[in-house]
């Protein structure tokens, strides 16, 4: 999946660069190919160039360098209205002087579709987002969540093959957002639309997407399925950005097969899996997920190695315990353990021993 053949890819960014001012590159060397029907999320901190990529795809910005292909054809010279791309904006951009039905009718009217066909399609689109009753309302008379649904229906009503969404759920409260995440993925899969979704919320990215492209500094840091992204981050930015992560800093002292030896700054020596480090003497950040650390000695598997730790904080969260520890000089080392009968409950100040498997421990760039 990661390397879709460029020839049958639906959307292709080929060495795309973008600069607004001729001095700095906002997008640096973007390469991406998406197969038909994929739900791809661009995830990254604010200012990392996600919107810019979307705007280039939609035709509102031109690429400074490189080529964008849609269905195998370069689109750099096709005006936005001929690209046939549905788009959902962060502020919804529902036309305030039109009713909901008129909003949905607009893309059909400009395509010259006759009235009765239009009405049928509008009704179906509204029903699809469970807003059938609201055709005669104005956008201002709808709640945020309802406006969101209408924006979605409007982007889908003319049956585009590609839909772009720029942080469409950013303005909604948590509960509504989770509900809409589910709705959007359901619709996208039911209709078989190719979707490019932009968000800065990593949970959203992980739960919704087939693949996630993690953006930082104008580059894709990693492009992978959610589980791969979480379990096998390719560099420390991705490890840090996706999910919760513990880092221990040190220097590579030896490389032996698929493991390497790291001497932490506090003196301890641990084994880790080398990911994007290759030389002895290189500085590294060792990344380990909080749920892969064990605090109960009896549950440690063979081959795990152990480290001393001091409990700084113990938080009871019901289903899990969250323990903050001082480990090898790092005071923000977090361990999450499932609330099970044989699990230890610690108290601040307690000296304990923790352990993990070397293969859960990834040596990344510093």
């Amino acid at each position: 999946m990661a390397d879709v053949n460029r020839d049958d890819a639906f959307v292709v960014f080929d060495r795309v660069q973008k600069s607004y001012d001729g001095e700095t590159l906002v997008v640096k060397d973007l390469n991406l190919s998406m197969p038909r029907g994929e739900f791809l999320t661009m995830l990254g901190p604010s200012g990392s160039g996600k919107t810019t990529c979307l705007m280039m795809l939609a035709g509102f910005e031109t690429a400074t360098h490189g080529e964008i292909l849609l269905g195998g054809k370069p689109i750099n010279n096709i005006p936005p209205h001929k690209r046939g791309i549905g788009m959902v904006f962060q502020n919804y951009a529902l036309f305030p002087h039109m009713t909901v039905a008129e909003n949905l009718s607009f893309p059909l009217e400009v395509r010259g579709i006759d009235k009765s066909t239009r009405e049928g399609k509008i009704k179906r689109a509204l029903d699809m987002v469970q807003m059938g009753q609201f055709g005669n309302r104005r956008p201002a008379q709808l709640s945020g969540g309802q406006q969101q649904r209408i924006a979605l229906a409007r982007a889908l009503v003319f049956e585009p093959e590609l839909v772009l969404m720029d942080e469409p759920l950013g303005a909604l409260d948590k509960q509504l957002r989770e509900h809409m995440q589910f709705e959007i993925t359901r619709l996208a899969h039911e209709l078989g639309i190719t979707t490019v979704y932009v968000t800065h919320d990593q949970t959203e990215a992980l739960t919704m997407s087939d693949r996630v492209a993690v953006f930082d500094d104008g580059r894709i840091q990693q492009l992978a399925a959610p589980d791969t992204l979480y379990e096998e981050p390719q560099n420390s930015f991705v490890a840090q950005f996706i999910g919760e992560n513990n880092t221990l800093e040190g220097v590579i002292t030896a490389i032996k097969g698929d493991l390497c030896e790291v001497k932490l700054d506090s003196g301890e020596i641990i084994d880790a899996k080398p990911v994007n480090v290759s030389e002895v003497g290189q500085r590294t950040r060792v990344s380990i997920r909080p749920e892969r650390v064990e605090m109960n000695r009896s549950r440690l598997q063979a081959g795990a190695h152990t480290l001393k730790a001091e409990v700084l904080e113990f938080i009871y969260m019901g289903d899990i315990f969250r323990t903050r520890l001082r480990v090898a000089g790092n005071e923000d080392f977090v361990v999450k353990t499932r609330n099970a009968p044989d699990q230890v409950r610690t108290e601040p100040g307690q000296q304990i021993e923790i352990g993990w498997l070397p293969q859960d421990c990834r040596a990344l760039d510093a």
């Binding site: 035709g59 951009a93 036309f95 607009f106």
Partner: protein, 432 residues
């Protein structure tokens, strides 16, 4: 509670100490209301004195002229009724009755009083408003009134044989009551004939209706031109980054900071036949030296100068509605398949209509009442109705006619405002 529902009547709500709730609420709020009223009182008084009173006075003046019924001594302020005898005769005889000896006798008595009060000019002027040449007849007759003897009809005709003119008697009859609509008739190029029927005035004396029409036409034209010029400017201002648009805004506002006279005269410098524009055209050989364009002292001058002067009033409301329009609306329209023209026509433009309405209303109302610019650059056929109002205020001193013209102008504007409210809705107005 149960009692109240039992007999089907809602129980009157009371406060804790048993007083009716409504009364208590009223009392509690009365103090706050009194305070609020006292706070706005100065403003209310100011508006009453400077705005409502003058307009009311103007409206009164337009239907009330006592030049033929009352004399007020300038020195003592003493008021003396005049022309009372002839008034009695008018009351006793129906309109259209030919003046008889009795009538002239009454008139003679009144002229004696006029002579004593030195007021024949005043009464004559009032008649003169509706019938030219009457003022001199009055003064002439008054000079000889003391020497007149019965039969008075002959004596009057001796002084001036026009004294039996039915038109004159019709005007005197109308003028003998201070309240009259004749000034409105005059303002609409109408008058009464001898029988009191309303007819058009002579064709070569019909000026006001034509002038109203011209004022209306030029104002609409100027409004439209400011819209044509102002819309792109406002759009540019609204879409440019703030630091550029602020600079441009200064250029738009610059005319506000220069005196109206300076702006108007600078247009004169540009447009006159020996002016910059003509010189340039002649210099480039586009125009012969002997047929320079006449762009000043005609309607072109009025239109050009007023369009320029009123442009900011169009740009500012437009800008204020355009600035908050999120560019994502047009982008959304484009992504939905609309060409940029369709996106403009169906998405952007409708959202700017409140600004257009406000700008057009402002410019139009200002243009309809504009005075200085047409007076300076308008020449004869670039004059607007306000110039004529000013003429009657300052030169002919026919204040009642000036007031009637102004009242008609006011009524016209109010009707347009009402129409605007019906068609577009005043709530949609966005002035800034």
């Amino acid at each position: 509670m149960t009692d109240a529902t039992a007999n089907g009547k809602p129980q009157m709500l009371t406060t804790a100490d048993g007083k009716p709730l409504k009364e208590a609420l009223n009392r509690a709020q009365a103090r706050a209301r009194r305070k609020a009223f006292l706070l706005v009182l100065p403003l209310l008084a100011f508006i009453l004195i400077t705005f409502v009173t003058p307009i009311a006075q103007m409206l009164h003046q337009s239907v009330y002229n006592e030049g033929f019924v009352m004399h007020e001594d300038i020195g003592s302020g003493e008021r003396t009724p005049i022309m009372t005898n002839i008034k009695t005769w008018f009351d006793e005889n129906p309109a259209g009755t030919e003046p008889n000896e009795e009538a002239f006798a009454a008139l003679h008595k009144d002229f004696l009083l006029l002579r004593e009060l030195r007021a024949p000019g005043q009464a004559g002027t009032r008649v003169n408003y509706e019938r030219g040449g009457s003022r001199s007849m009055f003064t002439k007759t008054a000079r000889r009134a003391e020497r007149m003897e019965a039969p008075y009809m002959e004596a009057f005709l001796d002084v001036d044989e026009e004294w039996t003119d039915p038109e004159l008697w019709r005007v005197m009859r109308d003028a003998s009551s201070a309240y009259t609509f004749n000034f409105y008739l005059a303002a609409l190029d109408r008058t009464k004939n001898v029988d009191g029927e309303i007819v058009n005035v002579d064709e070569n004396r019909q000026i006001y209706v034509k002038l109203f029409a011209r004022t209306l036409f030029l104002s609409v034209l100027i409004t439209f031109l400011t819209f044509l010029l102002g819309y792109p400017i406002a759009h540019l201002l609204a879409t440019l980054p703030l630091r550029y648009s602020n600079l441009l805004m200064i250029f738009v506002l610059l005319p506000f900071w220069t005196s109206l006279l300076v702006r108007t005269t600078s247009w004169m410098v540009l447009l006159q036949s020996q002016g910059v524009v003509n010189d340039a055209l002649v210099g480039m050989g586009l125009l012969g030296d002997d047929n320079r364009l006449q762009m000043m002292y005609n309607q072109i001058g009025t239109v050009v100068a007023m369009t320029h002067i009123l442009l900011p009033f169009m740009v500012l409301p437009l800008y204020s509605v355009m600035r908050p329009i999120n560019p994502s609306y047009v982008r959304a329209a484009r992504s939905l398949g609309a060409t940029s023209w369709t996106a403009f026509r169906r998405i952007y433009f409708p959202q700017t209509v409140p600004g257009i309405g406000a700008g057009a209303l402002l410019v139009f109302i200002l243009a309809v009442g504009y005075y200085i610019t047409p007076a300076l650059v308008g020449g004869a056929d670039g004059q607007l109705i306000s110039n004529l109002i000013a003429f009657h205020m300052q030169n002919s001193l026919n204040w009642s006619l000036a007031a009637a013209l102004a009242a008609l102008l006011l009524a016209g504007i109010l009707i347009l405002y009402w129409l605007y409210d019906r068609l577009i809705g005043i709530d949609n107005l966005k002035l800034g």
